[in-house]
Symmetry: C2
Subunit: 273 residues, 2 copies
Amino acid sequence: MTRQQLVDSIFAKKSFLCVGLDTDIQLLPQCLKAKTDAGFEFNKNIIDATVAFATSIKINTAFYECDGLKGWDLLERTAHYIKQNYPEIFLIADAKRGDIGNTSKMYARAFLQNLPFDAITVAPYMGADSVKPFLEFENKWVIVLALTSNSGASDFQTLTLHDSQKKLCHQVLETAVKWGTANNMMFVTGATRAEMLSQIREIIPHHFLLVPGVGAQGGSLSEVVKHAYTKDCGLLVNSSRGIIYASGGDDYASKAAAEAEKLQQQMMELMGL
Amino acid sequence: MTRQQLVDSIFAKKSFLCVGLDTDIQLLPQCLKAKTDAGFEFNKNIIDATVAFATSIKINTAFYECDGLKGWDLLERTAHYIKQNYPEIFLIADAKRGDIGNTSKMYARAFLQNLPFDAITVAPYMGADSVKPFLEFENKWVIVLALTSNSGASDFQTLTLHDSQKKLCHQVLETAVKWGTANNMMFVTGATRAEMLSQIREIIPHHFLLVPGVGAQGGSLSEVVKHAYTKDCGLLVNSSRGIIYASGGDDYASKAAAEAEKLQQQMMELMGL
């Protein structure tokens, strides 16, 4: 997907919501538990119910790998279902991969070539040659971790470097932007540290940010918009548990839709549309 | 596997070799290409041929994910085959995972609970809560990236921090050792930077190091031993491509065995045994 297609989709839907499919088989609604293909039915119903309010869907690979072969099958079928039925959805593999060049190339093929993902999240610790192989696919995106939403982000990401006097996460932004462009690279910046988003915007005024941490993790949507919204929107804000587990009952899909719509309505208002 | 079991196995086999199964389906020997289960036959034959010379096997998940469902199936069957037939082998999932706590917990379950791996490699960028969930399984190990063997390691890992005046990779060691013990945590330190291993040994004198970069990447085994060998050995040195692709012909397994034996003989000599 091109940047223009993504921006058009955001303004058409008046939403920059990313729905996170962190589908934990053990947490499925009771009404699905006896079904043979419960995971797919859950994902399908959540997708169909929320897709009107979202521009993006993020599949968190951990929740699928955890269920082994069956889980990987669910991941693949879910990705294909989304792209076949809703090609306008910006589909993210939240995989946090990254390895030496020849290995990253295999991860890149796995998600960006052999599966229909538009983007993959990548960890920056191993540097340029661990990220660049993901940038070799036309109209596909790399989303590099910069400042994450979890408490451990302060262990290394916010430490100051000696030479540049910059925080590590800012150095990651400055170095990584040179590997790609604002048309094939985004950055993960957590909503739980919204006050730091202004500084991040100074370094990368044009890049899209994938912002987790709204919802279960406590981040504020209006704060994110205040500090990081651009004329092209420039944001994909993710909510996972707050949407997909809005209800554990038979009404899980309609409740998920209601939560997604609530966020979309807030986004529309914050966008001034 | 306990640390004592690993150390006993190293001294019994007079080897601290880890064979890396970076099995690229497109690079299989010609004689296997027509077979229906070529990947498994290749892995099985490589394992059977090299296991006498190795204490550890490392499965690089990227090369399996790249082949989708079939690849994940191969990963699982290979892991089970190794542990069923060679339970003394220290089996590593080279997966470079790491995410927020509730997600890392799912990755940990995937590899350390639902599959028979003894250890998994983990990226440190997201800090404590991204690594700790992997430490909750008895006699299982986390192998944290510290100083990797690739060129991109110099992008961030070797930058100096302002407050501690330490390199980031040294700070990672100092911080991460507090999350676990020398009985459940190792570190990845590349053989291509052997001169830096002495400094690393000052910070972590007792922890095992997983050392990639010998072979195709150009690192020297004797330099690694000189700078980082301990009385418990303290090393697992990996070779992947140099062993499994030693020959592209019918003799791929015997040639792999010869390469593994060559490394084992060098190791035995360097161990003074």
